[in-house]
Amino acid sequence: MLERPDPRMKDSRDALMIARNSDGKLVRRPLSPHLQTYRWPVTMLSSILHRATGVALSVGCLLLVWWLVAAAGSPGYFAMVEGFIGSWLGVLMLLGWVAALSYHVLNGVRHLLWDTGRGFAHEGLNGTSYVVLGATAVLTLLVWVIGFAAWR
């Protein structure tokens, strides 16, 4: 316990981060896990990426429905939507959609395998995280290249 406020405290919140070390000396303790200094385990990255790509793909659903509605609409409206998809913003969204989809599908397969009770060992988790990230890079580039080649 601190008897009086420590002069090194700049803020009352610091009280929670100051403690005595084994010599009885007051030391400043780091906030942990501090997001800026904490080294993310790859499993943390692969977990939050699954969620982030899922949210991004939900926005992609909006684009899919918009495209279908445009195809069922007037030629003018379809041309407008095609124009947007062909614009730099539209192409950027398509490229992002492919990357997000590649990751979410590949990592989704990993989730489904976990549901069968497989692949929970610590080393295995790190390993499959890297496999999914690497496979995503390869699949994304492959689909991008085929997409640009097929674009009329």
Partner: protein, 134 residues
């Protein structure tokens, strides 16, 4: 060593039903998995199909959608995608919105949006299926 025991504060009936505190059991979890498995082949099919439609004229897109197999697969894709998106977004909202009122409103708003988007997509596909080439 002391005896270890766990007290289960749940009636035998409650345990058998397995519905938990949300009274939904594993329904939400199961729907997420079911739609995920359905989306695996549907998405691969869709991405490959879209390669041939990139920059295609509206008549080509309409002809593609109106082909019976494509009509069925597209409706399945739209339905499974939005069902899966709704289930996933609900989980995200339930994790991050801590006020009861705000959470319920957000979950219902997203659900409504997904239902309307799904209906719009399916009706667009059906319209193309029934009107193309006549």
């Amino acid at each position: 060593m002391a005896d270890i025991h766990i007290t289960v504060r749940r009636s035998p009936l409650g345990r058998v039903r397995g519905l938990g505190s949300a009274h939904g059991g594993v329904h939400h979890w199961w729907i997420q998995r079911l739609t995920a498995v359905a989306l695996l082949p549907l998405t691969i099919w869709f991405v490959i199909s879209v390669f041939s439609l990139l920059g295609a004229p509206q008549t080509a897109v309409a002809a593609f959608v109106a082909s019976p197999v494509n009509t069925v697969l597209l409706i399945a894709l739209v339905y499974a995608s939005l069902h899966h998106a709704q289930a996933g977004l609900q989980t995200v909202l339930e994790d991050y919105i801590h006020q009861d009122g705000g959470r319920v409103v957000a979950v219902l708003a997203v659900k409504a949006l997904c239902v309307f988007l799904g209906m719009a997509g399916i009706i667009a596909v059906l319209k193309l299926a029934f009107t193309t080439g006549r």
